[in-house]
Amino acid sequence: MIDLESIRLRIEASVAGAQVTLVPNDSPAAQPSLLVEGAHGLAIALFLRDDAELRFDYCSNATGVDWLDTELKVKVKQVVDGVEKEVEQVTKKPGYLETVYHLYSMEKRHGPLILRMRTRNRAGEAKLPSLTSVWRSCEFQEREIYDLYGIEFIGHPDLRRILMWDGFKDHPMRKDYVEPDDYEYEPTPHDEVLEKAKEHYPGS
């Protein structure tokens, strides 16, 4: 087993200015991960690959995640007109897009190490460094993430769509994707599809 906390400390000691957060995982999978900033992503990836003890020489999987904007409601005591009241305070947390890399070491026979990088928000600043120059196997998978989530990979050698066609404008795996309404006929509609079917067949 690899100790994530010690890897975290070693990264911070070796890569200047890097800040690494350990993301715990309470689910049955119990697979904690390391969250790194995009600015140091490439340097950290190089460190993980080339460090004599770690030698993460194989990236088995790269994928994307879309996290929506969230609202946090906290009850705060405030003094309003001299009377202390409980006021609900809503703090908005912007969502972000995330890439997840699963790293293994063929040489040392350990892994997986799960590496995460997050964009600042979901709209304009969806840019992250490409790790294709570190692990060649990321090339197609980063293209797929770009295609389906719209994350722009800085430094990718050939960033084109891979599954959808070139003129396609949307990113289908994002949660705000609106699919074309092209199923007029459904034998057994239910849930959302039933609502759409009702629009196509008023009075049925």
């Binding site: 599954l163 003129g167 396609f168 404008k169 289908p172 074309p180 092209d182 199923y183």
Partner: protein, 204 residues
């Protein structure tokens, strides 16, 4: 000629037939399918053409690698929106008379991927389909049954008159518009000449 007289004559060693019977017999006995598969249904199609199921019994063993030499297109598998224009183009390149068997749930309706963003909801939206086979995938027997159904259909085609098939009708189209890649979907999403939206009436 009435059936009884024909039977009587055949007992006397006189073989009678009609030109259209002879013509249709010739056509249905050597239907050459186009050799292409799109997904797992293609495996069943291959099985149907091999020794155990032996599609050659029906005169259809010669899978042609070129659309110019084929009479039958077996759409065997999932037609993605990215693949749909190529399928229509292949169909356009086949000479008349030509037939289409839509094999499997995906080819007839999109199947389990119907509510996805990237799968065409049935190839019959763009080209005229003669026989639909349900199943996921259909067994080779189902393909044989579809093939026999197609042969029966060819047998019943008249050589003249209003009901004559497309290849004998100079006004009927032999080529169908190839959809273009749009920004959100294929343009147009269906060919109104071929695909009529089914009318559904629901009780309750």
């Amino acid at each position: 000629m009435d059936e009884g007289l024909r039977n009587e004559l055949s007992k006397q060693g006189v073989f009678t037939t009609t030109l259209s019977d002879l013509y249709n017999w010739g056509r249905r006995s050597s239907v050459w399918p186009l050799q292409f598969g799109l997904a797992c249904c293609a495996i069943e199609m291959i099985a149907a053409s091999m020794a155990r199921y032996d599609l050659a019994r029906f005169g259809a063993e010669v899978f042609r690698p070129s659309p110019r030499q084929a009479d039958l297109m077996i759409v065997a598998g999932t037609v993605t929106k990215k693949m749909a224009p190529q399928v229509v183009r292949l169909y356009n390149q086949m000479p008349e008379p030509k037939y289409v068997i839509a094999m499997g749930a995906c080819a007839i309706s999109g199947g389990p991927f119907k509510q996805g963003y990237n799968v065409l909801k049935g190839i019959d939206r763009y080209i005229p389909v003669d026989v639909h086979i349900p199943g996921c995938p259909p067994r080779p027997e189902a393909l044989l049954h579809a093939f026999m159904t197609l042969q029966r259909k060819i047998d019943e085609q008249a050589m003249s008159g209003k009901a004559r098939p497309r290849h004998l009708n100079p006004d009927a189209p032999s080529e169908f518009p190839v959809p273009q890649f749009g920004e959100h979907d294929l343009v147009p999403p269906k060919n109104e000449m071929v695909w009529e939206t089914p009318v559904v009436t629901r009780n309750g």
